[in-house]
Symmetry: C2
Subunit: 129 residues, 2 copies
Amino acid sequence: MAKQAGSKPRSVRGSRTGRPIMALLDLLGRRWALRILWELRDAPLTSRALRTACDEASPTVLQARLDDLREAGFVELGDGSGYGLTALGRDLCETFMPLHRFAERWKGPSPSPRLRGEGRGEGEPPRRR
Amino acid sequence: MAKQAGSKPRSVRGSRTGRPIMALLDLLGRRWALRILWELRDAPLTSRALRTACDEASPTVLQARLDDLREAGFVELGDGSGYGLTALGRDLCETFMPLHRFAERWKGPSPSPRLRGEGRGEGEPPRRR
DNA sequence: CGTATTGCTACTGTAATTGTAGCAAAGAGG
DNA sequence: CCTCTTTGCTACAATTACAGTAGCAATACG
């Protein structure tokens, strides 16, 4: 599996199959990508303000992600208000809104994963090994 | 590779604010996390089959992500069918389904970000610097 | 017993991310 | 013009996550 000896693997990682969903899943699967979209959901932010909103993340990654998202057409640099979502980006953000409700119901990685008796009378059935 | 040095790296990066949405955004923002959930959306897969489905990703990351998702309560290891989504995970996956339609309409990061006259007629306004 | 499959770990590179410092280009005010 | 502040952005070094490959223990089957 030589990967891509000649050309730079600049394209999206999961996109090798050609399916756009994979490209999107990979782009959003980079660090701070989802967070940036989330913080920009209401109003545009300057790069500095965005950094503050993103828990003082490094400007290096923020800039890299911002470039990625800008290249993807989700984010654009306005005139005086800094970075903001494009119409497409706003549309994508709408897709993620249900996630908010889901997160509230989820409350983070619980130490006790037994949240619902899925059907079997569990108690810790010995995994087949 | 300490991985369990003391008791520190247990929490999620974006979770420092306490908001569950941040924890979720960070968890899903790790590599292959979204992809794994996506590949498991229909039926459970064995670890080997999942690896094949995920473009032969390294078992190292796959195992790490599988652990994360399992700890979060989204994925569980069945008896004979391998890994599968929990009821909660299936619910989360439902949230992501609209992403599929969105991706189809998006078609990946285009070299020319001007994909459609999206409404605002800005040709390419000089950025303020 | 021999073979195959499954879940999982160990290891070595490489790419990505973090953290800090700093720059050039505007604006605001004097 | 000169100073001061903000903004977008870049240059590094250090750390971490990830990719790739190899392999093991446990089960299942013939």
